[in-house]
Protein backbone atom coordinates (compact mmCIF):
# COMPACT_ATOMS: atom_id res chain seq x y z
CA UNK A 1 0.00 0.00 0.00
CA UNK A 2 1.24 3.46 -0.84
CA UNK A 3 1.61 6.00 1.89
CA UNK A 4 -0.44 8.52 -0.06
CA UNK A 5 -2.84 7.69 -2.90
CA UNK A 6 -4.39 10.53 -4.85
CA UNK A 7 -7.19 9.56 -7.22
CA UNK A 8 -8.78 11.81 -9.82
CA UNK A 9 -8.39 14.93 -7.69
CA UNK A 10 -10.00 18.01 -9.23
CA UNK A 11 -10.90 21.58 -8.42
CA UNK A 12 -12.93 24.14 -10.33
CA UNK A 13 -12.97 27.78 -9.32
CA UNK A 14 -16.20 28.83 -11.00
CA UNK A 15 -15.49 28.09 -14.66
CA UNK A 16 -11.74 27.82 -14.18
CA UNK A 17 -10.41 24.29 -14.03
CA UNK A 18 -7.44 24.66 -11.68
CA UNK A 19 -6.68 20.96 -11.18
CA UNK A 20 -8.16 18.07 -13.12
CA UNK A 21 -7.72 14.31 -13.00
CA UNK A 22 -4.71 14.37 -10.72
CA UNK A 23 -3.78 10.83 -9.70
CA UNK A 24 -0.53 9.58 -8.26
CA UNK A 25 0.92 7.50 -5.44
CA UNK A 26 3.61 8.38 -2.98
CA UNK A 27 5.63 5.64 -1.32
CA UNK A 28 7.16 5.88 2.12
CA UNK A 29 10.59 7.53 2.00
CA UNK A 30 10.04 8.88 -1.48
CA UNK A 31 10.86 12.37 -2.71
CA UNK A 32 8.41 13.43 -5.38
CA UNK A 33 9.10 16.59 -7.38
CA UNK A 34 5.93 18.37 -8.48
CA UNK A 35 6.76 20.73 -11.32
CA UNK A 36 5.00 22.68 -14.03
CA UNK A 37 4.83 26.17 -15.52
CA UNK A 38 3.44 29.05 -13.44
CA UNK A 39 -0.28 28.64 -12.88
CA UNK A 40 -0.17 24.89 -13.54
CA UNK A 41 -2.04 24.19 -10.29
CA UNK A 42 0.81 22.96 -8.11
CA UNK A 43 0.01 25.07 -5.08
CA UNK A 44 -3.71 24.39 -5.56
CA UNK A 45 -2.92 20.67 -5.51
CA UNK A 46 -1.14 21.17 -2.16
CA UNK A 47 -4.07 23.13 -0.80
CA UNK A 48 -6.48 20.38 -1.87
CA UNK A 49 -4.43 17.56 -0.36
CA UNK A 50 -3.74 19.41 2.89
CA UNK A 51 -7.39 20.38 3.36
CA UNK A 52 -7.01 24.14 2.91
CA UNK A 53 -9.38 24.10 -0.09
CA UNK A 54 -12.14 21.48 -0.50
CA UNK A 55 -11.71 19.57 -3.78
CA UNK A 56 -14.53 19.44 -6.35
CA UNK A 57 -13.85 15.76 -6.99
CA UNK A 58 -11.52 12.92 -6.18
CA UNK A 59 -9.98 11.17 -3.21
CA UNK A 60 -6.85 11.56 -1.14
CA UNK A 61 -5.96 8.49 0.90
CA UNK A 62 -3.35 8.63 3.62
CA UNK A 63 -2.39 5.11 4.70
CA UNK A 64 -5.60 3.87 3.11
CA UNK A 65 -7.97 6.34 4.78
CA UNK A 66 -9.71 9.06 2.81
CA UNK A 67 -8.80 12.47 4.22
CA UNK A 68 -10.90 14.60 1.88
CA UNK A 69 -13.25 16.78 3.90
CA UNK A 70 -11.02 16.92 6.97
CA UNK A 71 -9.87 20.30 8.24
CA UNK A 72 -6.18 21.13 7.80
CA UNK A 73 -5.46 20.71 11.52
CA UNK A 74 -6.79 17.15 11.57
CA UNK A 75 -4.80 16.30 8.46
CA UNK A 76 -1.72 17.63 10.25
CA UNK A 77 -2.55 15.35 13.16
CA UNK A 78 -2.70 12.39 10.78
CA UNK A 79 0.77 13.16 9.50
CA UNK A 80 0.83 15.61 6.60
CA UNK A 81 2.57 18.92 7.23
CA UNK A 82 3.01 21.71 4.70
CA UNK A 83 5.00 24.88 4.20
CA UNK A 84 3.75 27.97 2.40
CA UNK A 85 5.12 29.36 -0.84
CA UNK A 86 5.08 32.84 0.67
CA UNK A 87 6.41 32.13 4.16
CA UNK A 88 3.88 32.64 6.94
CA UNK A 89 5.68 32.57 10.27
CA UNK A 90 3.91 34.00 13.33
CA UNK A 91 5.82 37.24 12.84
CA UNK A 92 5.43 38.83 16.24
CA UNK A 93 6.37 35.67 18.09
CA UNK A 94 9.91 34.46 18.66
CA UNK A 95 11.44 31.70 16.57
CA UNK A 96 11.24 29.39 19.56
CA UNK A 97 7.56 30.24 20.17
CA UNK A 98 6.79 29.55 16.51
CA UNK A 99 8.09 26.01 16.79
CA UNK A 100 6.72 25.49 20.31
CA UNK A 101 3.20 26.15 18.99
CA UNK A 102 3.62 23.25 16.60
CA UNK A 103 5.22 21.03 19.26
CA UNK A 104 2.15 21.53 21.49
CA UNK A 105 0.37 19.09 19.16
CA UNK A 106 2.13 16.14 20.76
CA UNK A 107 3.29 17.78 24.00
CA UNK A 108 0.43 19.55 25.80
CA UNK A 109 2.74 20.76 28.58
CA UNK A 110 4.61 23.93 27.82
CA UNK A 111 7.95 22.77 29.26
CA UNK A 112 7.99 19.64 27.11
CA UNK A 113 6.83 21.47 24.00
CA UNK A 114 9.56 24.07 24.46
CA UNK A 115 12.21 21.38 24.93
CA UNK A 116 11.06 19.62 21.76
CA UNK A 117 11.09 22.93 19.87
CA UNK A 118 14.68 23.60 20.99
CA UNK A 119 15.73 20.14 19.84
CA UNK A 120 14.25 20.75 16.38
CA UNK A 121 15.76 24.23 16.10
CA UNK A 122 19.10 22.52 16.80
CA UNK A 123 18.55 20.11 13.89
CA UNK A 124 17.86 23.02 11.57
CA UNK A 125 20.72 25.19 12.73
CA UNK A 126 18.47 27.88 14.16
CA UNK A 127 19.42 27.57 17.83
CA UNK A 128 21.19 30.92 18.02
CA UNK A 129 18.11 32.64 16.55
CA UNK A 130 15.66 31.02 18.98
CA UNK A 131 14.92 34.08 21.11
CA UNK A 132 14.72 36.57 18.22
CA UNK A 133 11.52 37.54 16.42
CA UNK A 134 10.60 35.37 13.44
CA UNK A 135 10.31 38.48 11.26
CA UNK A 136 14.02 39.23 11.81
CA UNK A 137 15.21 36.05 10.05
CA UNK A 138 16.60 35.99 6.51
CA UNK A 139 14.38 34.41 3.88
CA UNK A 140 16.43 31.19 3.92
CA UNK A 141 16.08 31.04 7.70
CA UNK A 142 12.33 31.72 7.52
CA UNK A 143 11.96 28.83 5.08
CA UNK A 144 13.89 26.62 7.50
CA UNK A 145 11.67 27.87 10.31
CA UNK A 146 8.61 26.70 8.38
CA UNK A 147 10.19 23.28 7.99
CA UNK A 148 11.02 23.29 11.70
CA UNK A 149 7.38 24.00 12.50
CA UNK A 150 6.35 21.11 10.27
CA UNK A 151 8.82 18.72 11.91
CA UNK A 152 7.47 19.60 15.35
CA UNK A 153 4.13 18.10 14.28
CA UNK A 154 5.93 14.76 13.57
CA UNK A 155 4.87 14.40 9.94
CA UNK A 156 4.96 11.27 7.82
CA UNK A 157 4.74 13.40 4.69
CA UNK A 158 6.05 16.90 4.13
CA UNK A 159 4.63 19.17 1.44
CA UNK A 160 7.26 21.76 0.62
CA UNK A 161 6.01 24.66 -1.50
CA UNK A 162 9.05 26.20 -3.22
CA UNK A 163 11.47 25.80 -0.34
CA UNK A 164 14.28 27.09 -2.57
CA UNK A 165 12.51 30.06 -4.14
CA UNK A 166 14.54 33.21 -3.62
CA UNK A 167 17.56 31.44 -2.12
CA UNK A 168 21.15 31.84 -3.36
CA UNK A 169 23.21 28.93 -4.70
CA UNK A 170 24.76 28.03 -1.35
CA UNK A 171 21.41 28.16 0.39
CA UNK A 172 19.85 25.96 -2.31
CA UNK A 173 22.59 23.36 -1.73
CA UNK A 174 21.90 23.44 2.00
CA UNK A 175 18.15 23.11 1.39
CA UNK A 176 18.73 20.07 -0.87
CA UNK A 177 20.88 18.44 1.79
CA UNK A 178 18.18 19.14 4.35
CA UNK A 179 15.45 17.49 2.26
CA UNK A 180 17.66 14.43 1.74
CA UNK A 181 18.36 14.29 5.46
CA UNK A 182 14.62 14.44 6.26
CA UNK A 183 14.04 11.54 3.89
CA UNK A 184 16.76 9.55 5.59
CA UNK A 185 14.86 10.08 8.85
CA UNK A 186 11.82 8.41 7.32
CA UNK A 187 9.78 11.34 6.02
CA UNK A 188 8.33 11.28 2.52
CA UNK A 189 8.46 14.61 0.70
CA UNK A 190 6.46 16.23 -2.08
CA UNK A 191 8.34 19.19 -3.39
CA UNK A 192 6.94 21.98 -5.55
CA UNK A 193 9.94 23.74 -7.00
CA UNK A 194 11.05 25.74 -10.02
CA UNK A 195 14.74 25.23 -9.33
CA UNK A 196 15.31 22.45 -11.88
CA UNK A 197 18.84 21.52 -10.85
CA UNK A 198 17.61 20.93 -7.29
CA UNK A 199 14.62 18.93 -8.52
CA UNK A 200 16.86 16.77 -10.72
CA UNK A 201 19.31 16.19 -7.92
CA UNK A 202 17.01 15.14 -5.10
CA UNK A 203 13.76 13.82 -6.59
CA UNK A 204 13.20 10.09 -6.92
CA UNK A 205 10.29 10.82 -9.23
CA UNK A 206 8.90 13.87 -10.96
CA UNK A 207 5.26 14.66 -11.69
CA UNK A 208 4.53 17.39 -14.24
CA UNK A 209 1.34 19.44 -14.12
CA UNK A 210 0.22 21.58 -17.04
CA UNK A 211 -3.00 23.61 -16.94
CA UNK A 212 -4.02 21.56 -13.92
CA UNK A 213 -3.59 18.23 -15.70
CA UNK A 214 -0.78 15.74 -15.04
CA UNK A 215 1.17 15.24 -18.29
CA UNK A 216 4.13 13.17 -17.13
CA UNK A 217 5.16 11.06 -14.14
CA UNK A 218 8.45 9.21 -13.90
CA UNK A 219 12.19 9.30 -13.29
CA UNK A 220 13.57 12.87 -13.44
CA UNK A 221 15.88 12.15 -16.40
CA UNK A 222 13.03 10.61 -18.40
CA UNK A 223 10.53 13.32 -17.59
CA UNK A 224 12.69 16.24 -18.74
CA UNK A 225 13.14 14.58 -22.14
CA UNK A 226 9.41 13.92 -22.51
CA UNK A 227 8.19 15.86 -25.60
CA UNK A 228 4.93 16.87 -23.86
CA UNK A 229 6.88 18.37 -20.99
CA UNK A 230 9.24 20.26 -23.25
CA UNK A 231 6.28 21.63 -25.16
CA UNK A 232 4.55 22.69 -21.94
CA UNK A 233 7.58 24.66 -20.81
CA UNK A 234 8.82 26.05 -24.12
CA UNK A 235 5.62 26.24 -26.19
CA UNK A 236 4.54 24.66 -29.46
CA UNK A 237 7.07 24.22 -32.26
CA UNK A 238 10.10 23.96 -29.98
CA UNK A 239 9.88 20.24 -29.36
Amino acid sequence: MSLLEVTDLGKNFGGLRAVFGLSFNLKANEILGLIGPNGAGKTTAFNLMAGFIPPSSGEVRLEGRNIVGLKPHSIVKRGIARTFQVVKPFRKLSVLENVTLAAFLHHPRRAEATAEARRILGLLDLTDKAEGAASDLTLAQQKRLEIARCLATRPKILFLDEPMGGLNATEVEAACDLVLRLRSEGIAVILVEHHMRAIMRISDRVLVLHHGVPIADGKPEAVVRDPDVVRAYLGEGKA
Binding site: A50, K71, P72, H73, F90
Partner: protein, 317 residues
Protein backbone atom coordinates in the same frame (compact mmCIF):
# COMPACT_ATOMS: atom_id res chain seq x y z
CA UNK B 1 9.80 37.63 44.31
CA UNK B 2 7.95 34.68 45.85
CA UNK B 3 5.30 33.19 43.64
CA UNK B 4 2.27 34.28 45.67
CA UNK B 5 3.50 37.77 46.58
CA UNK B 6 1.78 39.64 43.77
CA UNK B 7 -1.60 37.88 43.93
CA UNK B 8 -1.48 38.10 47.72
CA UNK B 9 -0.81 41.83 47.55
CA UNK B 10 -3.65 42.25 45.07
CA UNK B 11 -6.10 40.41 47.34
CA UNK B 12 -4.98 42.54 50.30
CA UNK B 13 -5.51 45.75 48.33
CA UNK B 14 -8.92 44.57 47.18
CA UNK B 15 -9.94 43.76 50.75
CA UNK B 16 -8.58 47.00 52.22
CA UNK B 17 -9.59 49.49 49.53
CA UNK B 18 -13.20 50.19 50.64
CA UNK B 19 -12.18 50.46 54.30
CA UNK B 20 -10.21 53.65 53.57
CA UNK B 21 -13.40 55.61 53.14
CA UNK B 22 -16.89 55.49 54.54
CA UNK B 23 -18.30 57.54 51.67
CA UNK B 24 -20.82 55.49 49.76
CA UNK B 25 -19.96 57.38 46.54
CA UNK B 26 -16.34 56.24 46.86
CA UNK B 27 -17.60 52.70 47.32
CA UNK B 28 -19.75 53.11 44.24
CA UNK B 29 -16.70 54.24 42.23
CA UNK B 30 -14.67 51.28 43.44
CA UNK B 31 -17.50 48.97 42.45
CA UNK B 32 -17.71 50.53 39.00
CA UNK B 33 -13.94 50.21 38.54
CA UNK B 34 -14.02 46.50 39.35
CA UNK B 35 -17.17 45.94 37.30
CA UNK B 36 -15.45 47.61 34.35
CA UNK B 37 -12.35 45.54 35.02
CA UNK B 38 -14.39 42.38 34.71
CA UNK B 39 -15.92 43.61 31.44
CA UNK B 40 -12.45 44.45 30.11
CA UNK B 41 -11.03 41.09 31.21
CA UNK B 42 -13.85 39.28 29.48
CA UNK B 43 -13.49 41.15 26.18
CA UNK B 44 -9.71 40.87 26.38
CA UNK B 45 -9.75 37.06 26.43
CA UNK B 46 -11.38 36.96 23.02
CA UNK B 47 -10.46 40.31 21.49
CA UNK B 48 -7.01 40.73 22.99
CA UNK B 49 -5.53 37.26 23.08
CA UNK B 50 -7.35 35.69 20.14
CA UNK B 51 -7.70 38.94 18.15
CA UNK B 52 -11.40 38.33 17.51
CA UNK B 53 -12.94 41.77 17.87
CA UNK B 54 -16.46 41.48 19.26
CA UNK B 55 -18.83 44.43 19.16
CA UNK B 56 -21.64 42.38 20.65
CA UNK B 57 -20.45 41.38 24.09
CA UNK B 58 -23.43 43.05 25.75
CA UNK B 59 -25.43 40.08 24.44
CA UNK B 60 -23.77 37.82 27.01
CA UNK B 61 -23.93 40.45 29.71
CA UNK B 62 -27.67 40.71 29.13
CA UNK B 63 -28.13 36.95 29.19
CA UNK B 64 -26.32 36.83 32.54
CA UNK B 65 -28.34 39.73 33.95
CA UNK B 66 -31.71 38.36 32.84
CA UNK B 67 -30.88 34.85 34.03
CA UNK B 68 -29.88 36.02 37.48
CA UNK B 69 -32.94 38.21 37.93
CA UNK B 70 -35.42 35.73 36.46
CA UNK B 71 -34.06 32.92 38.62
CA UNK B 72 -34.75 35.07 41.64
CA UNK B 73 -38.01 36.75 40.61
CA UNK B 74 -39.74 33.83 38.93
CA UNK B 75 -38.24 30.79 40.64
CA UNK B 76 -37.31 32.31 43.96
CA UNK B 77 -33.81 30.90 43.77
CA UNK B 78 -30.90 32.47 45.59
CA UNK B 79 -29.16 35.29 43.70
CA UNK B 80 -25.84 33.52 44.31
CA UNK B 81 -27.16 30.55 42.37
CA UNK B 82 -28.66 32.88 39.76
CA UNK B 83 -25.32 34.59 39.29
CA UNK B 84 -23.55 31.32 38.62
CA UNK B 85 -26.39 30.20 36.34
CA UNK B 86 -26.10 33.51 34.46
CA UNK B 87 -22.42 32.90 33.78
CA UNK B 88 -23.13 29.32 32.73
CA UNK B 89 -26.02 30.23 30.46
CA UNK B 90 -24.03 33.02 28.79
CA UNK B 91 -21.46 30.34 28.02
CA UNK B 92 -24.09 27.99 26.61
CA UNK B 93 -25.51 30.74 24.39
CA UNK B 94 -22.01 31.67 23.22
CA UNK B 95 -21.05 28.25 21.85
CA UNK B 96 -23.50 28.03 18.90
CA UNK B 97 -22.93 31.73 18.15
CA UNK B 98 -19.20 31.03 18.01
CA UNK B 99 -19.61 27.98 15.81
CA UNK B 100 -21.56 30.08 13.31
CA UNK B 101 -19.70 33.39 13.50
CA UNK B 102 -16.16 31.96 13.48
CA UNK B 103 -16.72 30.84 9.92
CA UNK B 104 -16.29 34.54 9.24
CA UNK B 105 -13.00 36.35 9.45
CA UNK B 106 -11.84 39.77 10.59
CA UNK B 107 -14.36 42.57 10.10
CA UNK B 108 -17.08 40.12 9.04
CA UNK B 109 -16.86 38.41 12.41
CA UNK B 110 -17.10 41.77 14.17
CA UNK B 111 -20.18 42.74 12.18
CA UNK B 112 -21.79 39.38 12.92
CA UNK B 113 -21.33 39.89 16.67
CA UNK B 114 -23.04 43.28 16.34
CA UNK B 115 -25.96 41.63 14.54
CA UNK B 116 -26.25 38.78 17.04
CA UNK B 117 -26.39 41.20 19.97
CA UNK B 118 -29.11 43.16 18.21
CA UNK B 119 -31.12 39.99 17.57
CA UNK B 120 -30.89 38.99 21.22
CA UNK B 121 -31.92 42.50 22.28
CA UNK B 122 -35.00 42.31 20.06
CA UNK B 123 -35.90 38.89 21.43
CA UNK B 124 -35.66 40.24 24.98
CA UNK B 125 -37.73 43.26 23.99
CA UNK B 126 -40.53 41.20 22.45
CA UNK B 127 -40.67 38.04 24.56
CA UNK B 128 -42.79 39.80 27.13
CA UNK B 129 -44.04 36.73 29.06
CA UNK B 130 -40.46 35.96 30.02
CA UNK B 131 -38.68 39.31 30.14
CA UNK B 132 -41.51 41.79 30.67
CA UNK B 133 -40.32 43.44 27.46
CA UNK B 134 -39.44 47.14 27.52
CA UNK B 135 -40.78 47.46 31.08
CA UNK B 136 -37.77 45.59 32.33
CA UNK B 137 -37.28 43.65 35.53
CA UNK B 138 -37.04 45.25 38.92
CA UNK B 139 -35.99 43.83 42.27
CA UNK B 140 -37.73 45.55 45.13
CA UNK B 141 -35.83 43.79 47.86
CA UNK B 142 -33.09 41.24 48.05
CA UNK B 143 -33.48 38.18 50.25
CA UNK B 144 -31.75 37.69 53.56
CA UNK B 145 -28.52 35.98 52.73
CA UNK B 146 -25.45 35.18 54.65
CA UNK B 147 -21.95 35.49 53.37
CA UNK B 148 -19.03 34.18 55.44
CA UNK B 149 -21.41 33.73 58.37
CA UNK B 150 -22.57 37.36 58.33
CA UNK B 151 -26.04 38.43 57.31
CA UNK B 152 -25.70 40.57 54.22
CA UNK B 153 -26.84 44.13 54.62
CA UNK B 154 -28.04 44.97 51.11
CA UNK B 155 -28.47 48.64 51.93
CA UNK B 156 -24.71 48.95 52.32
CA UNK B 157 -22.51 48.97 49.23
CA UNK B 158 -19.87 46.80 50.86
CA UNK B 159 -21.39 43.38 50.06
CA UNK B 160 -21.59 44.40 46.42
CA UNK B 161 -18.02 45.62 46.52
CA UNK B 162 -16.73 42.32 47.86
CA UNK B 163 -18.85 40.37 45.42
CA UNK B 164 -17.47 42.22 42.41
CA UNK B 165 -13.95 42.08 43.87
CA UNK B 166 -14.27 38.31 44.04
CA UNK B 167 -15.50 38.14 40.44
CA UNK B 168 -12.74 40.46 39.20
CA UNK B 169 -10.13 38.30 40.95
CA UNK B 170 -11.68 35.25 39.34
CA UNK B 171 -11.39 36.96 35.95
CA UNK B 172 -7.77 37.91 36.52
CA UNK B 173 -6.92 34.42 37.74
CA UNK B 174 -8.58 32.87 34.72
CA UNK B 175 -6.78 35.23 32.34
CA UNK B 176 -3.47 34.44 34.02
CA UNK B 177 -4.05 30.70 33.72
CA UNK B 178 -5.11 30.94 30.09
CA UNK B 179 -2.14 33.14 29.19
CA UNK B 180 0.28 30.51 30.52
CA UNK B 181 -1.46 27.48 29.08
CA UNK B 182 -1.45 25.85 25.69
CA UNK B 183 -4.82 27.50 25.01
CA UNK B 184 -3.23 30.92 25.52
CA UNK B 185 -0.45 30.10 23.07
CA UNK B 186 -3.01 28.84 20.56
CA UNK B 187 -5.01 32.05 20.92
CA UNK B 188 -1.96 34.10 19.99
CA UNK B 189 -1.35 31.84 16.99
CA UNK B 190 -4.95 32.32 15.88
CA UNK B 191 -4.55 36.09 16.23
CA UNK B 192 -1.34 36.10 14.21
CA UNK B 193 -2.34 33.92 11.27
CA UNK B 194 -5.28 31.54 10.94
CA UNK B 195 -3.78 29.50 8.08
CA UNK B 196 -0.45 29.02 9.79
CA UNK B 197 -2.27 28.07 12.96
CA UNK B 198 -4.18 25.34 11.10
CA UNK B 199 -0.94 24.27 9.44
CA UNK B 200 0.66 23.50 12.80
CA UNK B 201 -2.34 21.44 13.87
CA UNK B 202 -4.42 23.98 15.77
CA UNK B 203 -8.20 23.60 15.55
CA UNK B 204 -8.79 27.30 14.99
CA UNK B 205 -12.58 27.12 15.29
CA UNK B 206 -12.55 25.15 18.54
CA UNK B 207 -9.84 27.39 19.98
CA UNK B 208 -11.87 30.52 19.24
CA UNK B 209 -15.09 28.96 20.54
CA UNK B 210 -13.32 28.10 23.81
CA UNK B 211 -12.06 31.66 24.14
CA UNK B 212 -15.54 32.99 23.42
CA UNK B 213 -17.14 30.64 25.96
CA UNK B 214 -14.75 31.69 28.75
CA UNK B 215 -15.17 35.31 27.78
CA UNK B 216 -18.98 34.99 27.75
CA UNK B 217 -18.89 33.32 31.15
CA UNK B 218 -17.02 36.26 32.70
CA UNK B 219 -19.26 38.87 31.14
CA UNK B 220 -22.34 36.80 32.04
CA UNK B 221 -21.24 36.90 35.69
CA UNK B 222 -20.72 40.64 35.32
CA UNK B 223 -24.27 40.87 33.96
CA UNK B 224 -25.67 39.01 36.95
CA UNK B 225 -23.84 41.42 39.22
CA UNK B 226 -25.18 44.39 37.25
CA UNK B 227 -28.75 43.18 37.75
CA UNK B 228 -28.31 42.68 41.49
CA UNK B 229 -26.46 45.95 42.04
CA UNK B 230 -28.74 48.26 40.05
CA UNK B 231 -31.83 46.14 40.84
CA UNK B 232 -33.32 47.13 37.50
CA UNK B 233 -32.63 45.92 33.97
CA UNK B 234 -34.30 46.42 30.64
CA UNK B 235 -33.25 45.29 27.16
CA UNK B 236 -31.95 48.69 26.06
CA UNK B 237 -29.75 48.98 29.13
CA UNK B 238 -28.09 45.58 29.21
CA UNK B 239 -28.04 44.71 25.51
CA UNK B 240 -26.81 48.13 24.36
CA UNK B 241 -24.14 48.66 21.74
CA UNK B 242 -22.68 51.40 23.95
CA UNK B 243 -21.96 48.82 26.63
CA UNK B 244 -20.30 46.51 24.09
CA UNK B 245 -18.12 49.35 22.85
CA UNK B 246 -17.27 50.33 26.42
CA UNK B 247 -15.77 46.85 26.92
CA UNK B 248 -13.58 47.32 23.86
CA UNK B 249 -12.38 50.68 25.22
CA UNK B 250 -11.47 49.31 28.64
CA UNK B 251 -9.37 46.54 27.15
CA UNK B 252 -7.74 48.74 24.50
CA UNK B 253 -6.93 51.64 26.83
CA UNK B 254 -5.47 49.26 29.40
CA UNK B 255 -3.51 47.14 26.97
CA UNK B 256 -4.79 44.18 25.03
CA UNK B 257 -3.62 40.63 25.71
CA UNK B 258 -2.35 41.48 29.19
CA UNK B 259 -3.65 40.32 32.58
CA UNK B 260 -3.34 43.70 34.32
CA UNK B 261 -4.41 45.85 31.36
CA UNK B 262 -8.17 45.75 32.00
CA UNK B 263 -7.87 46.99 35.59
CA UNK B 264 -5.62 49.86 34.47
CA UNK B 265 -8.07 50.68 31.67
CA UNK B 266 -11.01 50.52 34.11
CA UNK B 267 -9.36 52.83 36.65
CA UNK B 268 -8.46 55.39 33.99
CA UNK B 269 -11.78 55.32 32.16
CA UNK B 270 -14.01 55.37 35.24
CA UNK B 271 -12.00 58.29 36.68
CA UNK B 272 -12.10 60.22 33.43
CA UNK B 273 -15.76 59.63 32.84
CA UNK B 274 -16.67 60.65 36.43
CA UNK B 275 -14.43 63.74 36.30
CA UNK B 276 -15.89 65.00 33.05
CA UNK B 277 -19.38 64.13 34.18
CA UNK B 278 -18.99 66.30 37.27
CA UNK B 279 -17.37 69.17 35.36
CA UNK B 280 -19.65 69.31 32.36
CA UNK B 281 -23.34 68.60 32.70
CA UNK B 282 -23.83 67.84 29.06
CA UNK B 283 -21.30 66.95 26.43
CA UNK B 284 -18.95 65.08 28.77
CA UNK B 285 -18.92 62.22 26.30
CA UNK B 286 -17.11 64.46 23.82
CA UNK B 287 -14.08 64.51 26.10
CA UNK B 288 -14.34 60.82 26.66
CA UNK B 289 -14.28 60.29 22.90
CA UNK B 290 -11.38 62.69 22.49
CA UNK B 291 -9.41 60.80 25.11
CA UNK B 292 -10.07 57.54 23.29
CA UNK B 293 -8.77 58.99 20.04
CA UNK B 294 -5.58 60.19 21.73
CA UNK B 295 -4.97 56.77 23.27
CA UNK B 296 -5.48 54.93 20.01
CA UNK B 297 -3.22 57.39 18.17
CA UNK B 298 -0.37 57.59 20.68
CA UNK B 299 -0.65 54.43 22.81
CA UNK B 300 -1.83 51.64 20.51
CA UNK B 301 -0.45 49.08 22.98
CA UNK B 302 -2.57 50.62 25.74
CA UNK B 303 -1.32 52.16 28.97
CA UNK B 304 -0.29 48.96 30.69
CA UNK B 305 1.10 47.57 27.43
CA UNK B 306 3.31 50.68 27.14
CA UNK B 307 4.46 50.45 30.77
CA UNK B 308 5.30 46.79 30.33
CA UNK B 309 7.35 47.53 27.23
CA UNK B 310 9.23 50.29 29.06
CA UNK B 311 9.96 47.98 32.01
CA UNK B 312 11.28 45.36 29.63
CA UNK B 313 13.59 47.87 27.94
CA UNK B 314 14.93 49.03 31.31
CA UNK B 315 15.60 45.44 32.35
CA UNK B 316 17.46 44.64 29.15
CA UNK B 317 19.67 47.70 29.36
Amino acid sequence: MPKFALPGLLVAVFIAAPLLSTHSFVHHLLIMVLFSTLLGLSWNLLGGFAGQVSFGHSAFLGVGAYTTLLFYLKLGLSPWLGLVAGGALAMVVAVPIGLICFRLRGPYFSLATLAVAEIIRLVALNWEELTAGPQGLIITHLPALSLFGQTVNWESKLPFYYLIALLALLGMGLTHLVARSRLGAYLLAVREDLESAEAVGIDTVLTRVLALALSAMLVGLAGGFYGLYFRYIDPDAVFSVALSVEMVFIAVVGGIATTAGPIVGAIVLVSISETFRSQFQSGHLIFYGLFMMLVIRYLPDGIWGRVRLALKQVRER
